[in-house]
Amino acid sequence: MKPSSMREIRLQVLWNRLLSVVEEQAQTLIRTSFSTAAREAGDVSAGVFGIDGKMIAQAVTGTAGHVNSMARAVGHFLEEFPITSMQPGDVYITNDPWKGTGHLHDVTVVSPTYKNENPVALFASTTHLVDIGGHGMSPDSRQVFHEGLYIPILPLMQKGKINEWLMKLIRQNVREPIQVEGDLYALIACNDKGSSRLLSMMDEYDLSDLNELSAYIIEHSHRGITEAINALPQGSWKHSMRIDGYDEPIDLVGEVTIANGKVTVDYTGSSPISSFGINCPLCYTEAYTAFAVKCLAAPTIPNNAGTLKAVIVKAPERTIVNAPPPCAVAARSTIGHMLPDVVFGCLHQALPNTLPAEGTSNLWNVRLAAGHGITGSAGTAFNLTLFHSGGVGARPHQDGLSATPFPSGVKNVPVEISEAITPIVIWRKDFRIDSGGPGAHRGGLGQTMEITNREEAPFGIHAVFERIKFPPQGRDGGSAGMAGKLRLGSGVKLKGKGFQVIPNGESLIIEMPGGGGFGYPITRNPLSVEKDVRQQLVSQNKAKTIYRVAFHDDLSIDAKRTAALRAKTTE
């Protein structure tokens, strides 16, 4: 007897299998990538779609920037090239910031999968290229046209044959043609991997299409996320946050409404577009907004077409969070990475004691360059990106994480590796004392780095740093984290954004912000303050003036004086 309810079990097993198929797809991409952003930061994504363009499964990778944006991308491809016009062996490509994942460096590749000559699925993958020509990752561009080669949705392969003309055009327009070509082949290969795994799954379970499975996955996910959202408090909450911007401060204003199984985030009131490359296309705004909501409501529900519509993002056009072409968008993460803090600011009003205080949020990636046309011809030419982070905000019951990215999921590059491939020397990379925002729970600490060139030559920095003028704020009485700082060893202050030269013989000092604190510092457990002082994360002076904890000479707590200090402040 064949029990009919084995159908339920079979669908669950197939769902698991599909998640493993996209995981294999993503791993194939990461293993063969050239771009540091792809392999160290996991700045890639991979997913499988139905032939109707609905995403069925997406690999969990290091970036939140592809949540939902990836799910929408395939729809744009199908509008340009309907499934009926595609053929086995075809592969399509674009790096359109508004149809992919927000800037020209991210290229998306889509490949149809056929079973018995019928299309059954589409595989899509995205990676961050080493280079795309133009000004590159610098925020100094004024228009998208300055930022590099702009590839519309085009065939990259037709019936298994590579579009050599397009490849030639791409090679001609980038600084690292071989690596870029290698990354494009990595995208093709990972879609192939996913495709062949999918086909063997379909053979094993004797499936001729994915319709039943796809409907099951999408329906269950939709129901799951709707239930999760319905369990949240219903209503509307507004929050505004000011950040440094390029040349002038930017206000990010959001209103979160939870109703009818949906979370709507409206950014009306946010600052207008910038004349520099920190603008954010709507797809990227959506990605980080959806990420923030998911962290709170449904961290374990997989991303697919069923979860896509649960978060609705609205933003008036020509605001910094919905910048249209030809705005420059290369450093769109400046805005995107800040959005979870805006969403959390709204939701904190609805759900106290749940969300973290503000953090550094933006990555403090150190982009160094030297060579002809940049710093002159003295010394070795190089181009190096180091992935580093300041402190994260304190949580309601935990201190914030120090030197950790959030919302990004980057991994750093070892100092020894950076020094092995360039003439730079990093003299220091350690916690920045007192940078964590004071609170009952302390914000995470930022870090300090000191960098020189070993050679008798200057070097340059493409600065894209935030939270220098406006530090991350605390919550519920917690104080702000320490603001970031960029300067030369001799003391000269540098700007937080834009290209600058570190003269021969000088050192560059980067001090990263700390996260905001949570709760009043004078309510922090004195034992935690003692630990921080012993560990030299908090100075004795700050312990006394801010946390109101006094110490004996051996750094043990002076209970009497502490009680007196704390009594005085609560009066």
């Binding site: 007897m1 293993r31 973290p356 990215p405």
Partner: protein, 686 residues
């Protein structure tokens, strides 16, 4: 006669190999003084078969002691000495959130708190040049702090010491002169590899467990002598080789995970015996499943792994250790793994386990959550009256109730389907993890032979094989004490590593040959301690990549003096291997090698197949039993056999169940089973 002892979390296994066959015994591990359990076990086993300590020629030992000390944080009070400006590298780690959506994630506490991470002014550049001389006075100034904090053991890890260890050596000299009792770990000796965090983490872990391990090894050595043993004692390493007590006491970090490594060596030995070229070793017990690829009788190796993962089994949540290890994929899936239903109505199993207390619901010892073992009982795979040789009576109704309560009512499924759901999800989870791991390693699962051990593996191996497109499975004799058997066939071996970033077009054959000659001498000095005369094999590897890539692939190099052709030879070897892994090479890109290893090993000794001397407990055959077969989604009538009744060349058609005292082998409808000459069960897909 050779004796092997494996201390595990619950049991200490002792195996004695004699010219006429082998015998084994399991005793409970004595956690407070592990050597006690070892001596008890040895004593009981020798008495049982009337053998004498003086007749034993070699004792080989593996233990989880080092791993446990790291997991339970029961090591020594240690300090770290590093370059000025880098005291926090140990805590900053990879600056990574390994759980993307978790707002409340915590990273593991570093092994050394910040106030005991001390620094000295000095600096060496990436090419080994001294940028800043070591400040000797600053080193002397650390001494009072070390004394005051009662530091037993220190790790010294300075920047770029893998290429120039002079400063580390100098610091070590000053400290050992001033503080003779202090145990010192130098990163340039334990892990001379680029990447400061991993090197620091490895050195600290070594320093952390060293006092504990050297005390234990000393007690064990003395105890063996007192018990009349005159033979040498060798220690199993995570690399699958064995080494002397002296080396083990100096670098105890190499002993971490040695038990599971023994299991893989056991599979390797079975693969050799049965002529299997491509194998997948599976060891599945109560809590975890461990899987390793074995190609051409070589287990997959790695130079990096993590211990003490904070979020169980999640990559990035543990302490990275860079030592030669057998690459093992560890999954939180075993007999005790707990089944639940998540918010989307999906069945999830593990990674948490009900362990041995309270254990699965069917143990009736207070466990109410359904586990994989409960599902196996409901599906008819485990006979409740014949579990563990009849030693534990299982309550089938408890299993059914637990499954109905947690799964059945929520998903509106009957007990049988719910149970099938649990085992299907477990087997699918394992299969998925293996497939992804295969991609990461550039391997394929198809056409392999699955070699299994551990109590839970024979129940699940056939379904796992189906999912991985595997047609052959071996359930060997002695699988219950596989790790200890593995120790007996492990070679005496040592691996030496160097980091030198060399571009192939700039390669200097002389200095490369010289580097390998030094590495060989270093390895030989260690191997000869345990094998003064034996023939040895040398293998060399380079970890290579295209310039600009971040991941290296491992390329085997010829073991010879190099001439000017070595650059082009390596180029060819790299491209060939790269193409094998990723289907294409990239013409025109520069190639570089970063890390180099040399492994020196005695040639593997052919060992006798385990023929059990001890009588098996009596198992009564039940005739036949109802068994649910998820492969065909049907309940079938399975014939029950006692494994001890099966003689060589017996053929059994699935569906069938083969019972032995430590486990049960399920032969699904689509498989048949055969007993080979050595007594191993061979399952083949029909």
């Amino acid at each position: 006669m050779k004796l092997a002892v494996d201390i595990g979390g619950t049991f200490t296994d002792v195996v004695l190999e004699t010219p006429s066959g082998s015998a084994s015994i399991k005793v409970l591990t004595t956690h407070d003084a592990p050597e006690k359990g070892v001596f008890q076990g040895i004593d009981q086993l020798l008495n049982k078969i009337d053998a004498h300590a003086r007749d034993v020629d070699l004792v080989i030992h593996g233990t989880t002691l080092a791993t446990n000390a790291l997991i339970e944080r029961k090591g020594a009070r240690i300090a770290l000495i590093t370059t000025d400006g880098f005291r926090d590298s140990l805590e900053i780690a990879h600056e990574h959130r390994f759980e993307q959506y978790d707002l409340y994630m915590e990273r593991p506490e570093p092994l050394v708190p910040r106030d005991l991470r001390l620094t000295v002014p000095e600096r060496i550049a990436a090419d080994g040049e001294v940028l800043k001389e070591l400040d000797e006075l600053a080193v002397h100034n650390l001494i009072p702090a070390l004394e005051h904090a009662e530091i037993e053991s220190v790790a010294i890890c300075l920047l770029h010491s893998y290429i120039n260890s002079a400063h580390e050596q100098h610091v070590a000299n000053i400290l050992s002169t001033a503080l003779p009792g202090l145990v010192i770990t130098q990163s340039s000796e334990v892990c001379p590899e680029i990447r400061e965090y991993e090197r620091m983490s490895t050195s600290c872990a070594n320093a952390y467990i060293q006092p504990l391990m050297s005390r234990y090894l000393h007690k064990l050595e003395c105890g063996l002598a007192e018990n009349g043993f005159t033979c040498p004692l060798l220690l199993m390493m995570s690399s699958g080789g064995v080494t002397t007590v002296k080396t083990a006491a100096r670098e105890p970090i190499r002993l971490v995970e040695s038990g599971p490594a023994g299991g893989v060596i056991f599979s390797q030995r079975i693969a050799a015996e049965c002529g299997v070229k491509q194998a997948l070793s599976l060891d599945m017990g109560g809590t975890t499943a461990k899987l390793t690829f074995i190609d051409d009788l070589k287990p997959q190796y790695s130079r990096t792994f993590e211990v003490a993962r904070q979020y169980r089994f999640l990559k990035g949540s543990g302490l990275p250790i860079r030592i030669p290890v057998i690459d093992m994929l560890e999954i939180g899936a075993g007999g005790g793994s707990i089944a639940r239903v998540d918010e989307l109505g999906r069945i999830t199993v593990g990674p948490d386990s009900a362990g041995s207390t309270p254990g699965p619901a069917c143990y009736d010892m207070g466990g109410i959550e359904p586990t994989m073992t409960d599902a196996d009982v409901v599906l008819g795979r485990i006979d409740p009256n014949n579990f563990a040789g009849g030693k534990i009576a299982l309550k089938a109704d408890r299993a059914k109730t637990a499954i109905d309560d947690v799964l059945g009512q929520r998903l509106l499924l009957d007990s049988l389907i719910s149970a099938a759901g649990i085992t299907e999800i477990v087997d699918e989870t394992m299969a998925s993890a293996v497939r992804v791991h295969a991609v990461e390693s550039g391997k394929d699962t198809t056409n392999r032979t699955l070699i299994v051990m551990g109590g839970a593996a024979p129940l699940h191996c056939a379904r796992l094989a189906e999912k991985l497109d595997i047609n052959h499975i071996i359930v060997p004799v002695g699988a219950g004490v596989g790790s200890a058997y593995g120790f007996l066939s492990a070679p005496i071996a040592y691996e030496v590593v160097r980091t030198r970033l060399i571009r192939l077009n700039e390669i200097d054959p002389q200095s490369l040959s010289l580097m390998f000659a030094e590495m060989r001498a270093e390895a030989e000095a260690v191997v000869r301690l345990g094998a003064p005369e034996a023939e040895v094999i040398e293998t060399r590897e380079a970890f290579m990549r295209y310039r600009g890539q971040g991941h290296e692939i491992t390329v085997n190099l010829p073991s010879e003096m190099y001439d000017e052709t070595i650059g082009s030879t390596m180029h060819e070897l790299f491209e060939k291997h790269y193409t094998q892994l990723f289907n294409r090479s990239i013409p025109g890109l520069e190639i570089e090698a970063l890390t180099w290893t040399l492994n020196l090993s005695t040639t593997p000794q052919p060992t006798a197949t385990p023929v059990l001397l001890e009588p098996q407990s009596q198992i009564i055959s039940n005739g036949s039993r109802q068994l649910f077969d998820p492969g065909i989604e049907e309940t079938v009538d399975a014939i029950v056999y006692a494994r001890e009744d099966l003689t060589a060349d017996t053929e059994i058609l699935g569906p069938a169940i083969i019972i032995e005292s430590e486990t049960t082998t399920v032969v699904p409808t689509k498989f048949n089973a055969k007993v080979n000459k050595a007594g191993h069960l061979i399952l083949t897909s029909q």
